[in-house]
């Protein structure tokens, strides 16, 4: 006797009625709705993600020739990169005439979506926010973006490759989550790490070209409501089984949404492992902007300083993103950004982020691996280990309650 529930069957084989119902129940930003609906449509087709790139160089060359109008450009040294948890990444050397009409050879990076990712995001949003941040914080220069899946088989973005490291020598943590930075790195990098977040949050985004982003009104909870609807929807679409703590947390988060006085650009995954530094320990790029949205600054502050993205030193002290104790982070952040940290709102986003992290690591990662829909199926299964730690953190936070 099959005991699969109706929800489980629908998630595995989404019908158009169910997709419509989910879209109505969890209203998210329109560009995100587009990629999430495409994910479900693809899931219905049941195709495995294939990591066969025999003709990638030719297709990429053809795309670039078409978009530059330069029939003589040449592409060499196409190589797949290791690391990363969501996108397939390749580097290549491109020789072409750049904007100044000089013939140059530059090393570029191609970020391409798998069939289903650990996070479903939109390449145009990523490209727009990267362009908005030029001059505000160090970011890779985006050259081309194509959110259409037809050109290379999946949406992609091409940016200038930056040399540098994302983790200290000898690092062992997948994607840098929970990686401890040795003392010499901490001394040099932690202040820059805080300052760059402050700079992101003080950008006047009203003047930035962010047409693919929905703009929340100041003094409302719109930004948080959209962000929560996103993770509720992802859970509903991707989880294999219900989890009582997740159900309880979802209700709590809906009931306690704080008002955001002044919405900011939220990076969405600001932590160790998502910035790059040079050998002289200068941060030369803030990376992985795919979860960026407009919302509450506490969301990023919580994410960068929460237990789940931190690491403990030899004394057991938790260092935010493996670098700096939370109180020091908060003090410096407030001083540099001029934005206040409200302990109750920070608590809300600790719960929110534990929920979000659990959705990613316990629902989406397993779903993507089950359907053989990524290039990292083995890693996606392992991430469940982190997922249950996220749920445990969520349970502890909810049991403690907000600070008095």
């Amino acid at each position: 006797m099959a005991l699969d529930t109706r929800s489980q069957r629908l998630r595995a084989n989404p019908t158009s009625d169910w997709i419509r119902e989910v879209r109505e129940r969890f209203p998210v930003e329109s560009t995100l709705d587009e990629v999430m609906t495409r994910k479900l449509d693809n899931r219905r087709k049941g195709l495995e993600h294939l990591s066969d790139f025999t003709d990638l160089a030719e297709r990429l060359t053809s795309y670039l020739r078409q978009h530059t109008g330069q029939a003589d450009l040449s592409l060499t040294n196409l190589k797949r990169l290791s690391g990363g948890a969501s996108k397939e990444q390749f580097t290549f050397d491109l020789t072409w005439k750049d904007a100044s009409a000089q013939r140059v050879t530059r090393k570029l990076i191609l970020r391409m979506d798998p069939s289903e990712s650990v996070v479903e995001t939109h390449r145009l949003r990523e490209a727009q926010v990267l362009k908005a941040m030029v001059g505000q914080v160090p970011v890779p220069e985006v050259l081309w973006v194509d959110p259409d899946p037809h050109t290379l088989g999946h949406p992609f973005l091409i940016a200038v490759f930056l040399p540098g490291a994302v983790q200290p020598e000898g690092a062992t943590k997948a994607s840098g989550v929970g990686q401890m930075f040795p003392e010499k790195y901490r001394k040099a990098l932690s202040g820059q790490f805080v300052d760059h977040m402050a700079a992101i949050h003080t950008l006047d985004w009203s003047k930035a070209p962010l047409s693919s982003f929905q703009k929340p009104k100041p003094g409302t909870n719109e930004g948080t409501r959209w962000a929560l609807a996103l993770w509720d929807r992802v859970w509903e679409e991707d989880t294999f089984e219900a989890h009582p703590v997740m159900a309880y947390a979802a209700g709590w988060l809906r009931r306690h949404m704080p008002v955001t006085g002044k919405p900011v650009v939220v990076h969405g995954d600001y932590r160790g492992g998502n910035f790059m530094f040079t050998p002289d320990l200068q941060i030369n790029a803030i990376l992985d902007w795919e979860l960026a949205h407009l919302g509450d600054h506490h969301e990023d502050v919580s994410w960068a300083t929460m237990t789940l993205t931190g690491a403990r030193d030899d004394d057991g002290t938790l260092l935010s993103s493996g670098m700096i104790p939370r109180p020091q982070f908060l003090a410096r952040y407030q001083e540099r950004s001029g934005l206040k940290i409200d302990p109750q709102t920070l608590y809300y986003f600790d719960v929110f982020n534990a929920y979000k992290f659990a959705v990613i690591t316990m629902a989406t990662s397993l779903r993507a691996a089950y359907g053989k829909r990524t290039h990292l199926d083995a890693m996606m299964n392992l991430l469940t280990g982190l997922g249950y730690v996220c749920v445990a953190t969520l349970q502890e936070l909810l049991a403690q309650g907000p600070p008095k």
Binding site: M1, A2, L3, D4, T5, S7, Q8, R80, L81, S82, G83, G178, F240, E241, A242, H243, P244, V245, M246, A247, Y248, A250, G251, R255, T307, L308, G310, A311, R312, G316, L376, A378, M379, N381, L382, T384, G385, L386, Y388, V389, V391, A392, T393, Q395, E396, L398, A399
Partner: protein, 190 residues
């Protein structure tokens, strides 16, 4: 039957670690092979405990759902969602009743029943907003210790994957499941 599953797994893990990874030159391939080795190590830890883990879950969810139904049905004005949730729980209790010989059923039945019970509990939790205050308080008091035990159990299951950086210690899976050499089902002794 031979070889035991643990021997298959340890043989594969050794081959991956000492032969395959050592001879791979592509960094992406090395990384993937390392994850396969890690997965095999995890499977060595849990492979002979999966059935008993699900049996314990089955026992605990049955107890909880039975207690939850007793609490929410004291309210004569239960909402439609709550009434439907209770009806669905009762229907499932017919399929997999408390005290049945579920240990003789195939693993797939046990997993499926547990998945169903998790979903039924989540439905009641989603309906909690509509409970009268006194019912909600009693329901909450039922959930709190269950949640605490649940997170310890789940962390014990994935402990070997090495992600846990929380400060309170997590028991090994053996210690969690067995007392005096046999599966411990709370409330039943043993």
């Amino acid at each position: 039957m031979q070889p035991e599953i643990s021997q298959f797994l340890s043989g594969m893990k050794k081959a991956i670690e000492q032969v395959v990874i050592a001879n791979l030159t592509d960094r992406f391939a090395q990384e993937q092979a390392g994850m396969i080795a890690g997965t095999l190590g995890f499977l060595q830890t849990v492979q002979d405990k999966a059935f008993h883990y699900e049996l314990l879950e089955n026992h605990l969810y049955k107890q909880l759902l039975s207690d939850a139904v007793a609490i929410v049905t004291r309210d004569a004005t239960a909402s439609k969602v709550t009434a439907e949730g209770v009806a669905a729980i009762r229907a499932h209790q017919e399929v997999d009743p408390a005290g049945s010989a579920v240990h003789l059923k195939p693993f797939r039945f046990l997993r499926g029943s547990n998945e169903t019970m998790r979903e039924l509990l989540a439905t009641l939790i989603h309906a909690q907003d509509q409970f009268p205050a006194a019912v909600s308080t009693r329901f909450e008091a039922l959930l709190r210790p269950f949640f605490k035990d649940l997170q310890i159990r789940e962390r014990a299951w994935v402990k070997a994957l090495g992600f846990d950086n929380l400060t309170d210690p997590v028991p090994d899976l053996d210690a969690l499941l067995y007392r005096d050499g046999q599966l411990h089902l709370p409330g039943l002794g043993g």
